[in-house]
């Protein structure tokens, strides 16, 4: 078990170092930070001095090591656009993205699991098959178009829910939450729904496939022979055995959701990390882009590693791999 743990964590660290290397390459070689930081009239001496102070004359390896060291402490330098610390900028935006992703994940489980069970037990009936077919539509819809349609229907035409922004937020220390005010909750509905649609269909299809497999198992036949009620059979006996892959999928998809939130946040003008990143892309604000890349990859890799380790804890056969 220890060997597996060391190997898996070592692998994760290797991947992170590679990602950091690419972030560093972008950071170091696209655009000259000195040119962007000094004013027009700076003399060559001043420029050289700044260059030395920023450590840009050190060897490539030394600069990379320093970059990784700083990144590991959450230090990504100053934004080129407004000279603020990148770490503060991201910390300000992180709660908005986090709340959006968590709510979208919850929605996908609350809607996806029941739909999956129903399509499995109704297999062959028209309503289950048409639901299954419509799930392909759900996978195919571009998430930005879903967001626009939701805005068009519920915000522009019906005027029920706000179509942009985050509503009123409450400060809890450095964390800002929109969950405690009515306008904050109302603003969360449409973005969360549009972000979760893809995930809902994914969960639904997975639950359906797993349920169909489980319903064929012997213990289900025995339970039926014993006279267990249908509903208890489906939801207690069968569904329980399907949840493990669903939990895995959910954990693995959180990273993807954060990346996809980028699109949703742009559509809904949601002040999260994704919008920060898109603004950084527009203004070629390299430090912010590098930081975003590192943070999202870190979340992604950490979750994947944790899932693998959790599996090894539960199933000893996987430890050899």
């Amino acid at each position: 078990m220890l060997a597996f743990l060391v190997k898996r964590v070592g692998n994760a660290i290797l991947v992170m170092l590679t990602v950091a290397f690419f972030a560093f390459l972008i950071f170091r070689f696209l655009g000259d930070p000195v040119e962007l930081m000094v004013n027009e009239s700076a003399t060559q001496v001043e420029r050289d001095e700044l260059r030395a102070r920023l450590g840009l004359n050190d060897s490539f390896l030394a600069q990379y090591v320093r970059f990784v060291g700083h990144a590991a402490q959450g230090e990504f330098g100053l934004s080129w656009r407004n000279q603020q610390s990148v770490a503060t900028l991201i910390a300000e935006r992180f709660p908005a993205t986090f709340e959006l992703v968590i709510i979208a994940t919850l929605l996908s489980l609350l809607i996806g699991i029941p739909l999956g069970v129903f399509t499995a037990i109704g297999r062959g009936r028209w309503w289950a098959e048409s639901l299954q077919l419509s799930s392909i539509v759900g996978v195919s819809l571009p998430s930005f178009f879903v967001g626009i349609i939701l805005i068009l229907v519920f915000s522009v035409s019906l005027g029920w829910l706000p179509g942009y922004g985050r509503g009123e937020v409450v400060k809890l220390g450095w964390w800002s939450t929109g969950l405690l005010t009515a306008s904050g909750r109302a603003a969360l509905v449409l973005p969360a729904l549009s972000l979760s649609l893809f995930q809902i269909t994914l969960v639904m299809r997975l639950v359906r496939a797993e349920m169909l497999e489980t319903l064929r198992a012997d213990f289900i036949k025995f339970a039926r022979a014993r006279g267990v009620k249908h509903r208890a059979l489906w939801f207690r006996h069968a569904l329980k055995n399907c949840l493990m892959p669903v939990i895995t999928l959910t954990a693995m998809q959180v990273g993807n959701l954060i990346a996809f939130a980028l699109v949703t946040e742009t559509v809904f003008q949601w002040p999260g990390m994704g919008m920060l990143f898109m603004q950084a892309v527009t203004f070629v604000d390299i430090p912010v882009m590098a930081a975003y890349l590192c943070i999202v990859s870190f979340i992604f890799v950490t979750l994947n590693t944790l899932v693998d380790i959790a599996y090894a804890v539960i199933d000893p056969r996987l430890r050899a791999a």
Partner: protein, 318 residues
């Protein structure tokens, strides 16, 4: 005399045309017994044909600035007040006929989607064959590279590559190179999937007797790989390629929507939706709706086909 005639006729029966061979396959039977697959195929055919024959169907070249007239801007679809027969589904804010723009945009989508599948399929298969057949360091290097690429969400890589390439490319190349950059951005993480599939199958096939026999009679290695092993990996690749075709179209549209894809003066459904999105609250809903619907139809029909193909080719489900 009769013998000569018979041998002359025979080859036609021994090697029947590819159409009649196709009609005897299980796949053909399965296709015609799945109404959703037939409908999706017909729809896709219609969309592709209309996109490629667009210049002969529509009233103007929407991306030729000379043919645009600002007086025609923001005309609503034909069934609304102020609609004109010339512009069936209305015009955008620059007086562009929306139907023409949508058809030109779908053509760009289809070409970019197909090109990204072709590039990643070829690169992925070649690398997968090499990794699976030679093993050793080539294998571990390629698979680790794949691990790193898959450790980041595909969409994020595409956005990043596309955005950075705009900065790195000289200004003169940016317009011409835009589609190439997008194809590269999509393929960069898409090849891993093909490479992993081909590698896994190559590992199985390389030790089989027919490969050993080929090696014994000194068939060149590249020939063993391409002519003997590769054909045995095509079935799973076909499904992945179909689904990735749809995915490629979606990624291109998303990139253009975010403003890091196609430049505004080139046709793209994503760009049309981005422009339309700015007029969402002022009532010109058709600018965003029709390009979006076209995009959905395109991707849905491809994915329905891919879904059918996966089930039809899966021997466990028969």
């Amino acid at each position: 005399m009769t013998i000569v005639e018979q041998t002359a006729k025979k080859p036609a029966r021994i090697t029947p045309s590819w159409i009649s061979r196709l009609r005897e396959t299980d796949l053909w039977w399965s296709f015609w017994h799945h109404p959703s697959a037939v409908i999706a195929a017909a729809l896709l055919l219609l969309l592709v044909a209309s996109a490629f024959f667009a210049p002969w169907i529509v009233v103007q070249n929407p991306y030729d600035l000379a043919s645009l007239d600002l007086l025609n801007a923001e005309i609503p679809p034909i069934w609304m007040d102020g609609g004109q027969w010339r512009f069936l589904i209305g015009t955008d804010t620059q007086g562009r006929d929306l139907l023409s723009a949508v058809l030109y945009g779908s053509r760009a989508s289809i070409i970019i989607g197909a090109a990204s599948v072709a590039v990643s399929l070829v690169v992925g298969s070649v690398l997968g064959l090499i990794a699976g057949y030679y093993g050793k360091w080539a294998d571990s290097l390629l698979m680790r590279a794949g691990d790193v690429l898959l450790s980041m969400p595909t969409m994020l890589i595409a956005i990043l590559v596309s955005a950075l390439a705009r900065q790195a490319l000289p200004a003169s190349l940016r317009e011409i190179g835009a589609s190439a950059v997008i194809v590269f951005a999509i393929s960069l993480s898409a090849w891993v999937q093909y490479a992993r599939t081909v590698r896994a199958l190559t590992l199985v096939e390389r030790n089989k007797e027919y490969v050993q026999a080929a090696r014994l009679i000194r068939v060149p290695t590249w020939r063993i790989l391409v002519k003997h092993i590769l054909p045995n990996t095509t079935t799973p690749l076909l499904v992945t390629a179909t689904l990735n075709f749809g995915l490629g179209i979606l990624i291109e549209a998303t990139l253009s929507f975010l403003g890091v894809g196609m430049p505004p003066e080139q046709p793209s459904l994503g760009t049309l939706i981005r422009i339309g999105n700015q007029y969402l609250f002022s009532g010109q809903w058709w600018i965003v709706l029709f390009p979006g619907l076209q995009l959905c139809l395109l991707v849905v029909s491809i994915n329905v086909l891919g879904d059918w193909l996966r089930d039809a080719l899966n021997p466990k489900l028969r």
